[in-house]
Structure formats: C-alpha cells, structure tokens
C-alpha cells in the first residue's frame, strides 16, 4: 500500500516537474522573441553597396568650335566661324544648337547697278543661329597607319533657325551632312557641310528669292 502511494507521489512529482519545464520553456520562448528583431550578435563585415546609375558620369553633351568657308549667294565666299552644342539622345540621334558668323563680299553688280542698294559694312555682317536634329549613319572605325583605329561616324543633319543679314532677319532652313572622327573617347574632329536656305530680296531683281548659302567647316568638339 505504501509502495503504491510512493509510486503515485513520484508520478505526481514528475508530471508537475514536466509541466513546470514546459511552462518555463514557453515563458523563455516568449522572452526570446524580442531578440530576433534586435541586432545580430555577429555583424557581417560586408558593406552593402547599391549602384545608382545617376552617379555614373554621363557624357551626352558635345560642345565644339568650328571654322570654315561660307558662300553667301551672290556675295562671294568668306571665312565663317562659330560654336555648337549637341546633346546625344541615343547612339543614333542627336540635337544640336549652333551659332555662326561670316561677312559678305560685294556683289558683282553692286557698283554698276544704279537701282541696287549698296550694303554698308555692318549690313555685310551675317550671323545665324539654328537648332537641328542629326542622325548618325555608317558608324565604324577609320584606320590610320598600321596600328591605329579611330571611331568615326557620318551623320545627316537638318534644322531651322534664323539668319541676320543686311539688317534683316530671315527664317532659315539648314540641311547637310558631316563626319565625326573621335580621337579618344571624349575629343572629336568634325567636318561639316551645310546648306543654309532662306528667302532674300537682295538679288537685285526686287523679288524674294530662295537663296542657297553653302558652308563647309572643320572643327573640334568635346564630350562632357
């Protein structure tokens, strides 16, 4: 009888102990939970670094100067010089703003014709500005010598602008083509042929005639 009571007592104690252990564990687990959100005990020595594309130096602008010859219809050819700023939208397409200046010679008939107004020195100054859209065609490499290759591209370009000539502003359309040779990844040499087309009444017949003013220039430009 006594031994039965002993066994019962032992069983009761062990059950109570088990319950106590389980309760303790659950309490501990509840205590453990906040640790999961806190900082890890061992910190990895890895510095996370994400790449922001905006931080990469982009060189979509091209600025340059040029000099060449411009033929003003009926007014002879003279030196033209100017500057241009281009923005490359894609590898094929670019927009460009340009300014240029040249001077007109005397017309062949200027002194002999009585009814034609002679231009003063300031009126002989021609300056233009324009905005154009260009398209790169035939990109490739130009081989100079045995071991040198330079990137190059032909481009066609057209745009609109204004020409200030003989104290008058003329709406001007320009069309042309050019060649760009890159000396390295940010310096380029450029050759450019352009026709500046505008209506003018300076032809001596009193009418507004469309004039074609051809320009050939060479220049250097820098990508930035």
């Amino acid at each position: 009888m006594e031994s039965r009571f002993g066994i019962f007592l032992l069983k009761s104690i062990s059950v109570l102990t088990l319950l106590g252990v389980l309760l303790g564990c659950s309490l501990l687990r509840a205590d453990d939970a906040p640790y999961e959100d806190s900082e890890p005990i061992i910190k990895p020595e890895l510095e996370r670094r994400t790449i922001n594309e905006a931080d990469i130096d982009s060189e979509d602008f091209e600025a340059g100067v040029f000099v060449g010859v411009m033929s003003i219809e009926d007014f002879g050819s003279n030196v033209v010089y100017g500057a241009r700023l281009a923005y490359h939208l894609t590898e094929d397409i670019f927009t460009e703003a340009a300014i240029g200046s040249t001077k007109a010679d005397k017309r062949d008939f200027e002194d002999s014709s009585g009814d034609t107004k002679n231009l003063s020195d300031s009126e002989r100054e021609l300056s233009y500005y324009n905005i154009s859209l260009g398209y790169n065609i035939l990109p490739g490499e130009a081989f100079i010598g045995k071991g040198r290759a330079y990137n190059s591209a032909l481009y066609v370009i057209a745009g609109i602008g204004n020409t200030d000539f003989a104290d008058d502003n003329h709406f001007t359309v320009n069309v042309g083509a050019g060649y760009r040779l890159l000396l390295n990844d940010w310096i380029a040499l450029r050759v450019d042929f352009r026709d500046h087309i505008f209506d003018s009444d300076l032809q001596g017949n009193g009418n507004d005639d469309t004039t074609h003013n051809l320009e050939a220039t060479g220049g250097i430009s820098f990508f930035f």
């Binding site: 982009s58 590898e91 290759a149």
Partner: protein
C-alpha cells in the same frame, strides 16, 4: 565672345573629367561572357570579351552605353541591356 564661350566649354570639360577620375563602380560579369565594343554604338566592332566572374569597372556613360575597364586594363563600351546582367558587390 566666342573666345569666352570656348574657354567656358574647355573649363567645363576639364571639370567633368576631374570629377570622373574620382571613383568608379565595380561590377561582376554574371553571364557566360560580356562583349566590349570599341565605341558607344552597335555599329562599332567587338574588341574584347570578359568572362563570367571577372570584375569590370564602370568609367562613364554615353546615351545607352557604358564605358568599362577590365581587370587587365582593357577598355570598351557595353550596352545598357548587357550591363543589367552584371552583379554589384552586394550580389544584386
């Protein structure tokens, strides 16, 4: 006036190239290979190929092309779409 403009442009160019020399991102090639073109355009030929696991340095960008430098010091241009197949140091 023109001279002033030219000087301004040259200064601008110098300023940007100085900034560019400071620090470059490095990425790892995660495709079988990565093609480096001689220029920033599809018409320019492929001059080098970088294998998987190699690290490349991103120097600059022009339109949709990135100029990169390999571990061996070779430079070339990589398409934007191809650059998306590289891993940053964070493994992204």
């Amino acid at each position: 006036m023109y001279l002033f403009l030219v000087t301004l442009m040259l200064l601008q160019c110098l300023a940007t190239s100085t900034i560019a020399a400071e620090q470059h991102y490095k990425v790892m090639v995660d495709e079988a290979y990565l093609e480096l073109h001689t220029g920033p355009g599809r018409g320019y030929p492929v001059s080098h190929v970088v294998d998987r696991g190699m690290e490349i340095e991103v120097i600059k960008r022009r339109t949709d092309w990135f100029m990169v430098r390999t571990e061996k010091g070779k430079e070339g241009w990589v398409k934007h779409a191809d650059m998306e197949l590289t891993l940053t140091p964070a493994g992204e």
